[in-house]
């Protein structure tokens, strides 16, 4: 390999935070004129690596070379000076200012002590045209689509003379045509010799645009691969930390075929439900007393599916039938009135109210459904709270304990109890076991099975494949905001799920 071609050479860089080793001797090498994908699941260390590189964090150990010279930044502002530009998922432009001004603000050309607007607009027009874009640069940037804004942000980086462009999930809010436009620009920049670090969760996109892939897992460097020599299945295996040899290609083809759903009445039937820009149209059916799992990598559309079903996001097409009747679920209120319940992924921010007591947290949803004018009596509140504390085995000295004093697993149980108290027909659990210890995990899994035996339909979302397999009757596998296939019975195996995620052309 030509040494002069290397733009950035990260050698054995480590970074730790109190209690966590976020990066453990990670290597990364970016060459001139290549698109380099950085892949890994949540907590793999991708963002930490980028932040160390751009000067937001200071590394504890290791070495970074930039064009062969030792390189160290103390702030993100310095990064621009060296030609290192980062674009984040949220677009960092000033919405109220014009496109031209957004490209040049902070470095406006001056003439006779005043900003030279003529030159700004002229230069901006040229710069924009270089990306084959034809827009009015004097209009405010907020009047254009997210994709155009993304390109304006790239233009700004290029005008600061970027040698390295870091794109952190740039496509997550773009539609297909917009992604294509962005990729066209990326290819052009590549030809100009710019090194591009591309972070995404979309497997298809990685294979479409990148030349090389570096995989991180749990803060450790797993390997650097040439994209066209790395089979998808191996990439997934590296990301998840499974041995690709343990599953063979042949056995899966048969098993991915859908089996008949377990006997039982259909509770919810979804046909071609979609939301433009967040979820491709999908069919889904859930029976009473069944646990349906959603498996897939981070960002594959699991939570989006749940949000659609619960009415948090409005669908843009498709229909939902509830016990055979056409139903429109346009808001969480509607969903709750149909006896749906949703335990969100982020329990700290979206679920638990820390300063309220266990009892108050448990009766919250039930009270909300009754309306504030029909308060539950104190006795009734205690009855309900006691019932679920016992049923779910919540470890708390009393029901008047503040929830913040409970352990993570018990907090999670409180949230589940809150929704069970409303006696739902359909329960959505989004990552109910994240961040809690093994024992509590097992208890919650047992609880899920118990509830389904009582006839409750459950949609179970988890990043841990073992858990999904253990708990669920059927598993829908997602990738890139699309449901690829459903597995049940014997086909529910880690190997199969990974095969499906890695597969290239599966018809949903």
């Amino acid at each position: 390999m030509d040494r002069n071609n290397v733009l950035i050479d990260i050698k054995r860089v480590s970074k730790s935070f109190p209690g966590v080793l976020a990066l453990d001797q990670v290597d990364f090498r970016l060459r001139r004129g290549e698109v380099h994908g950085l892949m890994g699941e949540n907590g793999a260390g991708k963002s930490t690596l980028i932040k160390v590189l751009t000067g937001l964090y200071q590394r504890d150990d290791g070495e970074i070379l930039f064009e062969g010279e030792p390189f160290s930044l103390s702030s993100p502002q310095e990064a621009a000076v060296h030609g290192l530009s980062t674009l984040y998922q949220e677009i960092n432009l000033i919405p109220a200012l014009s496109v031209a001004e957004n490209i040049y603000i902070g470095r406006e050309p001056m003439r006779l002590g005043r900003i030279d607007w003529k030159q700004i607009n002229g230069d901006a027009r040229q710069a924009i045209r270089r990306l084959d874009l034809d827009i009015d640069v004097t209009q405010p940037v907020s009047s254009y689509s997210v994709a155009i804004q993304q390109l304006v942000a790239i233009t700004r980086s290029l005008e600061i003379s970027a040698k390295v462009l870091i794109l952190d999930e740039p496509t997550s809010s773009l539609d297909l045509a917009e992604v294509a436009q962005l990729f066209k620009v990326i290819r052009k920049l590549k030809e100009d010799g710019i090194g591009i670090l591309f972070v995404t969760h979309f497997i298809d996109q990685v294979y479409e645009i990148t030349d090389r892939i570096t995989v991180l897992r749990n803060g450790a460097f797993i390997g650097e691969y040439e994209t066209n020599k790395l089979p998808r299945i191996e990439l997934i295996a590296h990301m998840l930390g499974k041995d690709p040899e343990t599953f063979s290609l042949e056995q899966t083809a048969e098993k991915t075929k859908q089996e008949k759903a377990k006997a039982g009445q259909t509770l919810l039937e979804v046909k071609q439900l979609e939301r433009k820009g967040s979820m491709t149209a999908f069919d889904l059916a859930i029976n009473k007393g069944e646990v349906l799992g959603l498996a897939g990598l981070l960002g594959s559309g699991r939570t989006e599916t749940a949000r659609l079903l619960f009415g948090i996001d409005r669908s843009t097409g498709g229909s939902i039938r509830l016990e055979g009747e056409e139903t429109v679920i346009s808001s969480p209120r509607k969903a709750i009135s149909h006896l749906f319940a949703f335990c969100p992924e982020n329990r700290k921010e979206e679920g638990i109210i820390e300063d309220l007591t266990v009892r108050e947290n448990i009766i919250l949803a039930l009270q909300a459904r009754q309306g504030i004018f029909r308060p539950l009596s104190g006795r009734r509140q205690s009855e309900i709270a006691e019932k679920y504390i016992e049923l779910l085995d919540i470890k708390t000295p009393s029901d008047s304990q503040a929830v913040k004093n409970l352990s993570g697993g018990n907090q999670q149980k409180v949230i589940i109890a809150r929704w069970l108290a409303t006696e739902p027909r359909f329960l959505i659990l989004d990552e109910p076991t994240r961040g809690i210890d093994v024992g509590a995990k097992a208890e919650i899994q047992k609880l899920i099975l118990g509830l389904s035996e009582d006839g409750l339909a459950i949609l179970f979302i988890s990043s841990e494949l073992e858990e999904v397999i253990a708990c669920c009757d059927r598993i829908a596998v997602l990738r890139d905001r699309k449901i690829l296939s459903e597995l049940s019975g014997e086909a529910k195996e880690e190997a199969t799920i990974m095969q499906v995620i890695a597969s290239k052309d599966v018809n949903p």
Partner: protein, 322 residues
């Protein structure tokens, strides 16, 4: 550059339309309303409001607010009068000290807002009480300003013909407006205030000097508040600790009626100028009418403000809907 009907110009155009409408109505209803003298008087009577409103425009565009301005005007007025009357300080020196104090006052508030991440509303509320209290500390009563040099400034002016006269205070107002327009459109400082008000997070990530700009904005406004205090004491030839109670609210109203979004990121100094003139025009209108109580001014301002807030709400919703 051609002028388009840009969405962000709509509030400004609405302001101009309102101004023309009131002016036209006054001219049709009352003789002498349409005269150079009445027009120039708008600048004279509202000079101190206008000077602060220019500073406030920068503050509001940067996403902040400054409630201390009315108290600062009173404090500076009393302090200048006290220095001249009791200690025989030369007016030019007294005024210079006052301007320096005003700028420092603003800078301290700006620093508190930036370094301690305190809400501008609270910091300047503290400033408001502090300055008002200091005004009473200086003097409990009004102090007259009598000094040959001051009289010379007050008497200085440019005759415009038609019995109209442009005094020094009005010239200061016009000069401050021109400086404001220049700062806003042709300096990085001016553009950065827009950036911070529109999206502070982005401004930080784009490497703009957010902290420096914020502190400068409040310093500039403090300086202009002090200048307004000087203008006010020239206008009334005295310093009075109870002067200009509630002035900050008139100023904010003028800025908002002038088309500046209270949420920051959008607005023009030129619009504020017209906003100030509208306030003056309403007052003149009611004076000409003769039978209405002067409190009707407040009612009309209230209604206008309400309409402009509705317009802004509608526009920002329409903008977000895209």
């Amino acid at each position: 550059m051609k002028l388009r009907l840009n969405q962000k110009n709509i509030p400004l155009l609405a302001t101009i339309a309102v101004f023309l409408l009131i002016y036209l109505a006054g001219s049709v209803l009352y003789s002498n309303f349409f005269s150079l003298r009445v027009f120039v008087n708008l600048f004279i009577d509202n000079a101190f409001v206008g000077v602060i409103a220019i500073g406030m425009t920068f503050v509001i565009i940067s996403g902040g607010i400054d409630l201390s301005v009315g108290s600062v005007v009173a404090f500076i007025g009393v302090l200048a009068a006290k220095m001249m009357h009791d200690f025989g300080v030369h007016p030019l020196l007294a005024f210079s000290i006052c301007l320096g104090l005003g700028a420092m006052f603003g800078m301290i508030m700006g620093s508190l807002i930036h370094f301690f991440e305190l809400p501008p509303f609270l910091v300047t509320l503290v400033g408001m009480f502090l300055a008002r209290g200091l005004a009473f500390l200086v003097s409990l009563n009004a102090i007259p300003i009598k000094h040959p040099a001051v009289n010379a400034i007050i008497d200085f002016g440019i005759p415009l013909g038609f019995r109209a006269w442009l005094p020094a205070t009005a010239m200061i107002f016009i000069a401050v407006t021109l400086v404001g327009i220049y700062l806003q459109h042709f300096t990085r400082f001016g553009r950065n205030t827009y950036a911070i008000g529109s999206s502070e997070q982005s401004a930080i990530l784009m490497g703009l000097p957010v902290g420096r700009t914020k502190i400068l904005v409040y310093t500039f406004n403090g300086l202009l508040s002090a200048l307004a205090g000087v203008v006010y004491s020239l206008y009334t030839s005295s310093g009075y600790p109870l002067a200009c109670v509630g002035l900050e609210l008139d100023v904010i109203a003028a800025v908002v009626i002038g088309g500046t979004l209270l949420s920051g990121g959008s607005g023009y100094v030129a619009g504020t100028l017209i906003g100030v003139l509208i306030l003056g025009l309403i007052q003149t209108f009611i004076t000409f009418q003769g039978t209405l109580s002067s409190w009707w001014t407040k009612i009309v301002i209230g209604v206008l403000l309400f309409i402009f807030i509705l317009l802004q709400r509608y526009l920002s919703k329409a903008g977000a809907g895209k």
